[in-house]
Symmetry: C2
Subunit: 327 residues, 2 copies
């Protein structure tokens, strides 16, 4: 009898719960909105109910490996506590693993959402031909995940991989983390919107300004569309995104020397707009990267887009219990 | 019968070769100057002669585990080639491992010098109570080494740990690596000298200017002495050293979440002059660091000075073959 597991992607907006078999096929996926307003107890109760429903439905056909849950925010793995979560404000210092385990009556694997996305891409996506990889998830914020020898690198307390808060420019815009000029301030959807508003205020982006006035749903996606249409100000914003990504990739390549770096999240859809600046900045700043690209190097460093889209986290979360069974 | 190994620290100035027992005791150490001018063939011939002398002397009492060699520069571990070495200019693209093995008639462990220093500190020094650690070696340049689960983290081609070339300020001084504003441009002895000359030229360091005129051997150590004596310009330079170290430590803490970060090399002697700025910048920029320092965290991140001084590399090089025997 083969395995299946439950993967949960607990986002600030959507809650997705999937039954996934050991080959990564999604047997069934339940998508609901995360009722953040109704409080964490309600979110956990609804989530556990859906987990149990899926578990009962498939455990006659498959051996149940367990449940993995990806949560946005900083998680202390030792205590199973959410230390900080901008998208789930009332979860701060909340012993979420214990509460879920009590509600389910079973052990679960709790993990940061960017870490499970990286694991998902390593299992079945852009990293599947490599044992180690790094992933940057460019969304509302910027998340990071590092997989070394097929395992998420947790570090001492489970907080490793916070690549969105590495410093691009020490005098750059202030960041919610307490720093300044973090990658998240240049390469997230939020940053793209902020940079657009700054350019409009400065009078250097007249087309963006007109578009914003005409469109109340002005978003990073919209700025990308303007960039494709040839708007110079929008193109400059994506060059800044690429510049910042290139600096941090150079840092990470110099520190880790991994075979593959994967860029995912919604902003990755604008790859063609930011990738040229990203790659040229990386090439300029990392002699480790250049050494691996040289003709005499037997192994090349690969910089590539994610393949699993928004399923990466769900798949990676489900893989946590499957991976534990495999070893 | 217990083990011994030969460790080699091949510097640009000195060549040190030690017989080290499995407990890390130096049985005997040969120190000569590296005759770089006479060319790499001559350096390798002399080195192999001394290795053989030590090996023969101790192999009646101990089982010989092998030879480990720390080399300054970027090493491609797969090919055993020095890709770049500022201190050993004619070694570029030289198949050094093959040449040494031919000369010795035996396999050797070749490793970057900052990596063996990190391994030495992890084995017997500041990292000995931890399985994983990161070390920054502040010397003429800035080297880095990362030890994960008691092994040097090599990455794909052996070039991981180049933390001296992570970016502090993307618009900072140009670096020999092709980048700008690398840590090495702020926290090396060379950088301290450069920043002193810049301050003197700008007219903001009159005491340093007088001292430099009086002392042809003007060095980073001298600037540190001036800082201890209360010279404001010298103190400011070390605050810049600390600021840059704090930014990069914050990056590395956010990425790796390791239990201990060790600062070594000659410049680490100026710890009291740069550490306050380093720690406050780290505290400001890394929420992972802050989370581990909070009262509710069971494990604290430790930032500390190296303990083995200039022996770290020698000890770490010898540990490579000992570690291989142990497993």
């Amino acid at each position: 009898m083969s395995f299946f597991a439950i993967g949960v992607d607990l986002g600030g907006t959507n809650l997705r719960i999937a039954a996934v078999d050991q080959n990564g096929n999604q047997l069934e996926t339940i998508t609901t909105s995360t009722e953040v307003k109704r409080g964490r107890d309600s979110v956990i109760r609804d989530m556990c109910r859906d987990i149990k429903t899926l578990q009962q439905k498939y455990e006659s056909q498959y051996h149940f490996a367990g449940t993995g849950i990806g949560v946005p925010g900083i998680i202390d793995l030792e205590t199973g506590t959410v230390r900080e979560s901008p998208n789930l404000p009332d979860w701060q210092d909340f012993p979420v693993r214990e509460e879920i385990e009590r509600c389910l009556g079973a052990r679960v694997f709790l993990e940061n959402d960017a870490n499970v996305a990286a694991l998902g891409e390593q299992w079945l996506g852009a990293g599947k031909d490599f044992n180690s990889m790094c992933m940057l998830t460019l969304g509302t914020g910027v998340g990071g995940g590092i997989v070394l020898n097929q395992r998420i690198w947790h570090g001492m307390t489970g907080m490793a991989g916070e690549l969105g808060h590495m410093t691009v420019d020490p005098n750059g815009p202030p960041c919610g983390c307490g720093g300044r000029g973090c990658l998240e301030q240049y390469a997230s959807a939020t940053a793209i919107k902020r940079m657009s508003l700054e350019a409009i205020s400065a009078g250097s982006a007249p087309e963006l300004g007109r578009a914003m006035n005409a469109n109340p749903e002005f978003s990073a996606k919209f700025v990308f569309q303007m960039s494709i249409n040839g708007d110079a100000a929008a193109q400059q914003i994506f060059r800044t995104v690429g510049w910042a990504l290139g600096i941090i990739l150079a840092d990470v390549v110099n520190a880790f020397n991994l075979p593959v770096y994967v860029i995912g999240g919604g902003v990755a859809a604008a790859w063609e707009a930011f990738a040229p600046a990203m790659l040229s900045e990386l090439e300029l700043r990392s002699f480790v990267f250049r050494a691996t690209q040289s003709a005499s190097s037997r192994r090349k460093t690969l910089i590539t887009r994610a393949l699993l889209g928004s399923d990466a986290g769900l798949i990676g979360a489900a893989y946590l219990p499957i991976q534990a069974q495999e070893t």
